[in-house]
Symmetry: C2
Subunit: 151 residues, 2 copies
């Protein structure tokens, strides 16, 4: 029996999350694609960069916008291993990301299906299509192993 194959960008985002863990950063990875092309990628890095905004999504969005020379990423997709927080969900809105794919949901810090539910606010200027769950087992395992090792 063949098992289902994770879409390549999410597989890559998970590899980036593992890289973050190896550096002592909370393991989250993100990839921005436009169709079949990877535009930018990043792993979580607030400690490395001394930057509280350096979540994987923010870094990937910033790099994609720089690469494309455009602050709008309307025809792009964002693949991330964890449900975005309020900061990152807000950045997704500002960047006009077309589709958001995330792996694990995050009841503690997520702001898509939890808490601030940024995209559900009536004032929200742009709502990406949102798909969650693919790769969630691997994403959650990376996070659990990371926090287990720090206790």
């Amino acid at each position: 029996m063949a098992s289902w194959t994770l879409p390549q960008p999410m597989d890559r985002a998970l590899a980036l999350a593992a890289q973050a863990a190896a550096l002592g950063e909370v393991p989250v990875g993100a990839v921005v694609t436009r169709g079949s092309k990877v535009i930018a990628e990043a792993h979580n890095g607030p400690r490395e960069h001394h930057d509280p905004t350096a979540h994987a999504e923010i870094l990937a969005i910033r790099r994609a916008a720089e690469t494309l020379g455009d602050e709008r990423l309307s025809d792009c997709e964002l693949w991330v291993t964890l449900e975005p927080c309020a900061m990152c969900a807000g950045a997704i809105v500002h960047a006009r990301i077309g589709k958001l794919y995330y792996a694990a949901s995050d009841p503690k810090g997520g702001a898509v299906e939890h808490g601030a539910r940024v995209f559900e606010q009536p004032q929200c200027l742009h709502r990406p299509e949102v798909y969650s769950g693919m790769g969630e087992g691997r994403a959650a395992e990376l996070l659990q192993a990371f926090f287990r090792a720090r206790r």
Copy 2:
């Protein structure tokens, strides 16, 4: 009769907002202080930087964290001319900003007293002290003049 004098950091944030307008950016300015010392400042610049995350608050927080070599700005104050959006409110949480002062409220895009109300979420990990309204007339006038000229 002497008129009330705006605190110096908010006066500076308003000057930064005016600089943004002169560059064709939505006029918002931000200053990070630690006590009486200015640590970092910025004006809104998503167009200039081709960066959808380049709001005044994000830039000022990133510069302050870089200057201090610490991703936490716990003993710092953020002065901004407009109510922060969800992205910026989230960044304020991650940076552990101690006190937030903002001038004009923003019913359309704000996420402090409107919309996502990021700091009021039960899951919110850090809540700054929030003071609003000082300089709101000047901040709103800058924004109104900017959008009037673009119509």
